[in-house]
C-alpha cells in the first residue's frame, strides 16, 4: 500500500513537472514577447496553449543524429544525466500539506512532537537531511552539461562544457553558503521542519542577504541570462548542446526548465515560507468547524498547494523578467561576481547570523528578524557602494594609463 502511494506520488509529480516545463516555455515566450512589445506565439489553439504540444511533436519527429566522432556512450548518457537530477530534486520538496490521516492540524504542529500519524502526500520523502540532499542533487546536475560538451567532440561544445563546469562549481559555493544561513535560522536540515519554522516570519526577512545571494547564484546555477555564457549563441553556437538534436536536445531543454522550476521551489521552501500562507490555519479551523476535519484537510491541502505554486510562479516570473531586461555578463565578470562578491557576502551572512542567533537564542523572532534584516541591507548597500567605487577607480586608472601617451601606439 505504502509503495503504491509512493509510486503514485512520483508518477504524478513527474507528469506535473513535465507539463509544467512545457507550459513554462510558453509562459516565458509570451512574457518575453510582452516585454519586447511583441505578441508571442498565439496561433496553436486559443492564446497559443497548444504551442508546447506542437513543439514536442516537432522535436519527436526530427532526425536523430549522432555525430560520427562523438563518444557514443557518454554522448547518449549526457542528456539522461542532465534530466535525472532535475527530476529527483522534487523528492524532498514539500509542495503543500495534505495529511493523509485526515488531521489537518498536524500540518501546523511542531514536527516530532506528535507527528506519529502524519503523512503528507504532497511531499514524497521526508528525510532529515533534506536540505543537504537538495544541495547534493543540484551539484550533480553539472555532469549532464559537462559531459555533453566533452562527448560531442566539437570545439563549441567543449568550450561550453568547460565554461559550465567552471561556472557551476563557482556558484555552487555561494549557493550552499547562502542556504546555510537559512539552515542556521531553522536549526534543522529537514525541509518539512524548515517550512514549519517559517510559519511566523519567512526567512526572506531575517535572511535577506542570503536570499539575494541565493537568487543571483541560483540564476547562475540555471545558466540563465545574465549568466548564460555556457550556451552563448553568438560565440559558441549554443555551447554544449550544439551537436544535439531531436529528443536528446529536448531532454536538455527540459532539464533546464525543470531545474528552473525546481530551484524556484527550493527558494520558496527555504526562504519564502514554503506552502505557508497567512491565515491558512484559520481557514482550516473555519472549514473544520463548518464541515468536519476531513473536508478541512482537503481544503488546507489544496490551498497550501496553490499557495506554494503561486510563490513558485512569482520566482519564475522574476527569472523571465531578468532574461528580458539584462544583457549577458563577461566571463571574467562572472567569475569575479561569484568569487569576490557573492561568496564573501554569503560568508558575512553566516557570521552575522551565527552571532545574532548565538548571542540571544531566546529573542523574539520578529525583533531578531528586523535586526538581521537591517544588518543584511546595510551589508548589501556597503557591497554595492564598494563595487561602484572600485569600478570608478578602475575607470580613472584606465583613463590615466591611456591619457599621457594618447592611447596605445
Amino acid at each position: 500500500m505504502h509503495i503504491v502511494i509512493i509510486f503514485l506520488q512520483v508518477l504524478i509529480t513527474i507528469l506535473a513537472v513535465s507539463t509544467g516545463f512545457a507550459y513554462l516555455t510558453l509562459f516565458e515566450r509570451r512574457m518575453l514577447a510582452r516585454f519586447q512589445n511583441r505578441v508571442g506565439p498565439n496561433r496553436a489553439g486559443p492564446w497559443g496553449i497548444f504551442q508546447p504540444l506542437a513543439d514536442a511533436v516537432k522535436l519527436f519527429f526530427k532526425e536523430d543524429i549522432i555525430p560520427s566522432a562523438a563518444d557514443k556512450g557518454v554522448y547518449l548518457l549526457a542528456p539522461a544525466l542532465a534530466v535525472i537530477p532535475a527530476l529527483i530534486i522534487w523528492a524532498v520538496i514539500p509542495m503543500g500539506c495534505w495529511n493523509i490521516a485526515g488531521d489537518y492540524q498536524a500540518c501546523f504542529a511542531a514536527p516530532g512532537a506528535d507527528g506519529a500519524g502524519f503523512y503528507n502526500i504532497l511531499q514524497i520523502a521526508d528525510v532529515n537531511i533534506g536540505v543537504l540532499y537538495l544541495m547534493a542533487v543540484t551539484s550533480i546536475g553539472v555532469y549532464g552539461i559537462t559531459l555533453a560538451g566533452w562527448a560531442s567532440n566539437s570545439k563549441y561544445s567543449m568550450l561550453g562544457g568547460i565554461r559550465s563546469a567552471a561556472q557551476l562549481i563557482s556558484y555552487e559555493l555561494a549557493l550552499g553558503t547562502a542556504i546555510l544561513g537559512a539552515v542556521m535560522m531553522a536549526d534543522t536540515l529537514s525541509t518539512r521542519e524548515m517550512v514549519f519554522r517559517q510559519a511566523g516570519l519567512w526567512f526572506a526577512v531575517p535572511q535577506f542577504l542570503a536570499f539575494v545571494v541565493f537568487l543571483i547564484s541560483a540564476t547562475a546555477e540555471l545558466v540563465r541570462t545574465p549568466f548564460d555564457l555556457v550556451e552563448a549563441e553568438q560565440e559558441l553556437t549554443c555551447g554544449y548542446n550544439t551537436e544535439y538534436g531531436s529528443m536528446k536536445f529536448a531532454l536538455f531543454f527540459m532539464s533546464e526548465y525543470v531545474k528552473m522550476i525546481a530551484l524556484s521551489a527550493i527558494g520558496v521552501t527555504l526562504f519564502l515560507g514554503g506552502w505557508h500562507f497567512p491565515g491558512l490555519k484559520l481557514l482550516g479551523e473555519v472549514v473544520s468547524g463548518a464541515a468536519g476535519a476531513g473536508v478541512a484537510t482537503v481544503v488546507v491541502g489544496i490551498v497550501s498547494l496553490l499557495s506554494f505554486l503561486l510563490k513558485v510562479l512569482v520566482l519564475l516570473f522574476l527569472l523571465v523578467w531578468l532574461r528580458a531586461s539584462w544583457p549577458r555578463v563577461r566571463y571574467d565578470m562572472l567569475m569575479s561576481i561569484g568569487w569576490k562578491w557573492l561568496l564573501p557576502l554569503a560568508f558575512i551572512n553566516v557570521v552575522v547570523t551565527a552571532v545574532v542567533v548565538g548571542l540571544a537564542p531566546e529573542m523574539n523572532p520578529l525583533v531578531q528578524g528586523i535586526i538581521l534584516l537591517i544588518i543584511g541591507v546595510a551589508v548589501l548597500w556597503g557591497a554595492t557602494f564598494l563595487s561602484e567605487k572600485q569600478r570608478s577607480n578602475l575607470k580613472v586608472a584606465a583613463k590615466a594609463a591611456v591619457a599621457p601617451t594618447g592611447g596605445r601606439q
Binding site: 563518444d71 556512450g73 557518454v74 528525510v127 532529515n128 537531511i129 543537504l132 540532499y133 544541495m135 547534493a136 551539484s139 550533480i140 553539472v142 555532469y143 559537462t146 559531459l147 560538451g149 566533452w150 567543449m158 562544457g161 568547460i162 563546469a165 567552471a166 557551476l168 562549481i169 555552487e172 536540515l189 577607480n393 578602475l394 580613472v396 586608472a397 583613463k399 590615466a400
Partner: protein
C-alpha cells in the same frame, strides 16, 4: 528482511568493486573518471544502507559533486591526454602485476581473514547504550558537537591542512604565469590606482 539487506549489500558492493576495476582498466581517461564517479555513488549507497544519511549525502556532495567534477574539468583542459596515447606499455605485462598482487594479497590478508574470530549473525554483538538499547545514531547535531569537543584539534588541523592545499595550488598554478608576464601585487595595484590623484 535480513536477506534483503544482504542482497542489496552484495549488489552495491559489486557495483563499487566493478566500477573501481573499470577505473583502472578503462583506456579513455574520461571514462575512467566516470567510472570513478559511479564507484563514489556506490559508496554513498553503502552509507545509506548503514543508515548514515548525512555521510551518504556528503559523500555525494563532496566526492561526486565537487571533486570528480574538478577532475573532469582538469582532464578536459588537457584534452590531448584523453586520446589513444594512454594505452601504451601499461597493459603489456599485466599478468606479472596480477600474480604479484595475488601473492601479496594471499600472504597478508588471507591469514588474517581466516584466523579472525568473526562474529556471525547468530551471535549478535551486545549493543552499546543503556540496557541493551542501541545508542542513538549520530545525527548532525552530535557530529557538530564532536567537532568542537573530542575532535577539536583534528578539526582545527584540518582547517590548516586546507590552507596548505590552497597555498600549494596557487604555487602550482601561479609559477608558470609569473615567469611569463608580470602580475601586479595588491600593493602595486593600490599604488597604480592612487596615481591619478
Amino acid at each position: 528482511m535480513q536477506l534483503l539487506v544482504q542482497v542489496i549489500f552484495v549488489l552495491i558492493a559489486a557495483e563499487i568493486v566493478g566500477a573501481a576495476v573499470m577505473v583502472v582498466t578503462a583506456k579513455n581517461i574520461v571514462h575512467a573518471a566516470l567510472w570513478l564517479i559511479a564507484s563514489f555513488c556506490g559508496v554513498g549507497a553503502l552509507y545509506l544502507l548503514l543508515e548514515a544519511e548525512f555521510l551518504a549525502v556528503v559523500q555525494v556532495l563532496v566526492y561526486v559533486g565537487a571533486i570528480s567534477i574538478l577532475m573532469l574539468f582538469a582532464i578536459m583542459l588537457t584534452r590531448h591526454v584523453t586520446g589513444k596515447g594512454a594505452e601504451t606499455s601499461l597493459y603489456q605485462r599485466w599478468w606479472v602485476g596480477l600474480i604479484v598482487a595475488a601473492v601479496l594479497f594471499a600472504a597478508v590478508i588471507a591469514p588474517t581473514v581466516l584466523a579472525h574470530p568473526w562474529e556471525t549473525a547468530t551471535a549478535a554483538p551486545a549493543l552499546p547504550g543503556e540496557t541493551g538499547q542501541p545508542a542513538a545514531m549520530a545525527g548532525i547535531v552530535d557530529l557538530g558537537r564532536a567537532f568542537v569537543e573530542e575532535y577539536l584539534l583534528p578539526f582545527e588541523i584540518a582547517a590548516v591542512l586546507l590552507l596548505v592545499g590552497l597555498v600549494g595550488a596557487i604555487v602550482i598554478a601561479f609559477e608558470e604565469r609569473a615567469a611569463r608576464r608580470h602580475i601586479p601585487t595588491l600593493a602595486e595595484e593600490v599604488a597604480h590606482r592612487r596615481q591619478p590623484e
